[in-house]
Symmetry: C2
Subunit: 328 residues, 2 copies
């Protein structure tokens, strides 16, 4: 029968496929061997650069007149450039685990990707995650508003926040290894937020906790809305990058772009939330002061510190970011 | 000066390195294009196999006499074999995100590795993590024993457990994508443990919580010690694989191997802990029964259910594993 022949054909095709698979593996391993070569010569070049730099500076020390010579200046400029190039190559090629935070969750494994499309995908997944979780964040705030005295609601909310901040910090660390220019503060800010959630989880209900809950609820409502705006803004930035051809359009799943706020539009909202954070910090400290810094209520002081750090760090980083954007 | 020449040389070397880098990228992308080809022909082969199978079965239906022919039997056997091969190739080549659990933390990104050394590293990091955290686990049990009425201690312990189970489940899911034969139950068992920690976190101190704390402390002590033994056993298994040449020795960081228990030695300890889990479940249910299944104390019922699931699932999976090991 003819079906017999077709099965035979299929068998051949599958065999061919398996051979291609082997070829792929070989090529892949070959690629990594080459990468190994690149990494070791990178290492050598770095050492030579250091050696040459120190030789140059000791030459200058032994004979001051050399320092002013055109040639010397030219040399040290060249060395600096090589150094920059080496750094750049390192960030492109050397496998990295990312910070200790990634290591805590995934172990000491490489999280660097070598394809642009894969890197872009990481970023896109990160922004998509924020978009998807913003409504959840606001939903929790509504629940908190409706049922402030249910410890079930407050604890669930803190556990959810814990998850939220942990996965954000994890993804941001991986993005960082893959060439994102995200400022370290924004990651640090999520670490501090993790400590904040832990503080809240360790805070017995009643007493100071109930006293502060309404304020925290209002604050979180504002934060949630502003996060929604920021995340629309970041989505817009991502689309801009696509439009500028930094990423190919095929990679982008066809989602609505719609209206996205500009950086300037966002600014007053950000400042509002950040000043609110400083105000929270003030309220916590004032409460603690009235109670003579009672250490049984250490959660109050801890929350005050956390809001102080968050508020001032956010404010400082936002202002410098805008300064560089518009005046440099 | 000669330093001038050396800088020049260094510059050339760095340029060469960058060219190699470009070459590596090209080769790497070429590899992935080939992978893309493999994946699409895999898809085609799968479809043809299905089509042929259904044609064969409809042929058999239309003419019963064909079914008993040698040729037909041969054909369906071949088709089955092809199917197996296709499945095997799929698990080797098709990029995968892993389960929804991985997606929750890392987003929809590929976690499959294509190099044996990288896969082995994942496994090794996983076992190393267990080894390192076992003493921490026991330390918490000691703290729990010494300070049972400090909500700070009990809550910290549950938060730590949350982290512990989340990272284990995350790593196990990634291992699974990378060809580990870990049974699904052991991952499921960590999901259930996560729900267990959440239940504990949502459990107000005092009342039923304080009633059960001593029993849970004793149980956790036993569990911690048995985990220590299991993890030594798994470390031993890993070394066996190295010895059998499945992984190259270079990959293994030179850590002490020392004494490792055999599977049979381990068995009574495992059974003890698993029966303890069932006993816990019984105690929780009995308590809830005495209180007419009071739903305000839902944590009691939830813990009972969790221990029931854990105990019976662990027992069942352990027994089948040993059965296959020694009688098949
Ligand atoms: C100030 C702000 C609008 C600037 O954003 P921006 O225009 O993207 O800034 P930059 O151009 O410096 O961004 C550089 C990189 O960092 C990323 N980034 C910037 N701010 C980030 C943030 N808060 N979280 C995560 N990533 C951020 C950008 O996406 C970009 O990534 P890329 O290199 O992978 O493309 C933004 O940082 C922001 O919204 N900050 C306020 C956060 C805050 O205060 N939150 C608390 C209250 S809700
Ligand atoms: C029963 C047991 C000893 C068998 O272990 P084993 O000999 O490695 O079993 P298998 O040969 O079937 O292992 C297959 C794979 O699953 C892994 N695996 C087995 N049990 C595992 C577990 N409990 N957790 C994580 N991985 C496990 C093995 O490392 C192996 O991985 P690999 O394919 O990557 O090499 C082991 O499953 C075990 O310790 N179970 C009891 C766990 C328990 O009850 N815990 C609660 C009380 S402490």
């Amino acid at each position: 029968q003819e079906i017999f022949k077709e099965v035979q054909e299929l068998q051949n095709k599958q065999k061919e496929l398996e051979e291609n698979g082997l070829k792929f593996r070989e090529q892949y391993n070959e690629g990594y061997r080459e990468l190994g070569g690149i990494i070791s010569s990178l290492d050598k070049n770095e050492k030579s650069t250091k050696a040459l730099s120190s030789r140059l500076s000791s030459l200058i020390k032994s004979d001051k007149s050399i320092a002013s010579m055109e040639e010397t200046k030219e040399l040290s400029k060249q060395l600096q450039q090589i150094n920059l190039k080496i750094k750049d190559s390192k960030s492109k090629f050397i496998p990295e685990t990312g910070s200790i935070f990634v290591r805590l969750f995934l172990g000491q494994v490489n999280v660097k990707h070598y394809r642009e499309s894969e890197k872009f995908r990481l970023k896109q997944e990160y922004e998509k995650f924020k978009m998807k979780t913003n409504p959840q964040f606001l939903l929790f705030v509504v629940l908190l508003y409706l049922y402030p005295d249910r410890s079930f609601v407050t604890t669930s909310w803190q556990i959810w926040l814990l998850y939220y901040y942990v996965t954000l910090a994890l993804r941001e660390n991986i993005l960082l290894v893959n060439g994102s220019k995200i400022r370290n503060w924004w990651i640090m800010h999520h670490y501090i937020s993790i400590v904040g959630s832990l503080t809240n989880l360790l805070w017995p209900t009643g007493g100071s906790f109930s006293y502060f809950l309404p304020q925290i609820t209002y604050f979180s409502g504002c934060q949630g809305i502003v996060q929604m705006l920021s995340s629309r803004y970041q989505q817009g930035q991502l689309y801009k990058q696509v439009a500028m051809g930094k990423a190919s359009v095929i990679d982008v799943t066809g989602e609505s772009d719609g209206w996205t706020p500009s950086a300037l539009f966002l600014l007053p909202f950000l400042l509002f939330v950040q000043l609110f954070q400083l105000y929270n910090s003030f309220c916590f400290f004032a409460y603690s002061y009235r109670n003579n810094f009672d250490l049984h209520d250490w959660q109050v002081i801890s929350s005050g510190l956390i809001f102080l750090l968050l508020g001032s760090g956010n404010l400082y980083t936002t202002i410098t970011t805008y300064y560089y954007k518009y005046f440099k």
